[in-house]
Symmetry: C2
Subunit: 195 residues, 2 copies
């Protein structure tokens, strides 16, 4: 796909992330971008064909974080339950440090008429989902994860719970520390999926 980004491209993506964190997806405009970089607006177009390509860059960035996590996590020999716990911890940390990611990954509605972006989001979600399923299947084989619910359903439940937890945090206007309150919640999830 689109590998090797130039420094300028990376800068644009980083500033995009900052902008989204500050003002939400709607705040990501070429004008704001240019202002924040200290650029003219037209200069952006020397580095990206259009705004959609920038958003794809942002999504690739998030995809990268996920992939790196799963790669690292699949290799170690922690049990499945612990891996899922790590996943929650990673997301809580990532989200509280880069709230922009929440905005991008959870806003299918905004991308509604941008097929390319919708597909990219779907792809990222599917990637995450299949990795989780893999972890769960292995966990079932080792007798750590309950057998009576198929992994694909468990994955929906896990991802959905995670997202809802973050959503509530968002709706509360970030009024509490998500990592702290999250650790209780993780215990419940563990109880739920364990044998």
């Amino acid at each position: 796909m689109n590998t090797d980004l130039s420094n300028r491209q990376l800068e644009i993506i980083n500033v995009s992330l900052e902008l989204i964190a500050e003002k939400g997806i709607q705040g990501l405009t070429i004008k704001n971008l240019a202002k924040k970089i200290g650029f003219s607006e037209s200069a952006i177009y020397r580095h990206f064909d259009n705004k959609i390509q920038i958003l794809i860059g942002v999504l690739n960035h998030f995809e990268g974080i996920s992939e790196q996590f799963f790669k690292q996590e699949m290799e170690n020999d922690a049990d499945s339950i612990t891996k899922i716990e790590h996943l929650f911890l990673l997301y809580f940390n990532t989200f509280s440090m880069h709230p922009s990611i929440v905005a991008v990954i959870f806003s299918e509605e905004i991308f509604r008429n941008e097929t390319v972006l919708l597909e990219k989001v779907a792809e990222v979600m599917k990637g995450n989902s299949s990795k989780i399923i893999e972890i769960l299947e292995k966990g079932q084989r080792k007798g750590e994860v309950r057998f009576d619910i198929i992994p694909s359903h468990l994955a929906i439940i896990i991802l959905g719970s995670l997202r809802m937890f973050v959503s509530q945090w968002h709706l509360s206007r970030y009024s509490y520390d998500i990592s702290e309150k999250g650790s209780d919640f993780i215990q419940s999830i563990k109880t739920l999926i364990s044998t």
Copy 2:
């Protein structure tokens, strides 16, 4: 709150729902609204102060559906697990018949800088959540719902799973019948929360 809407106001809200269903929240513009009703744009402003009031109307509409459901469901004497099942069924039906609702209720990100709307969404979510908690608590007392996870966590898990399930359906571009595929999923949720 804002009770008694005029016929015209109701018409505007209904057409808004249709528009959102067709083109997403972004498709809900005064221009489209006026065109679809057969109105001039300025006529809209005879019935609503501004666009935000229309969206609040839409959210109230959804709130009404939920309230009505819970009212009816709390009164009958089905067990808690069945009530939760009914909730899923209701949502699957509502969503497949009025996809607009999904768009509105799940798009906190779009309302990001509209405090009033964010609060309204938060309110609706909180209402649903507390009703579910109520059902679960009763279920625990009657020994139908597992005791080892607190109801507030179970509610997050239930609402989150529901939402994620719908999200995936959305991302798949409504490529399957959500009610049909949903009934399997409901079984898993029941297994998960039962004693």
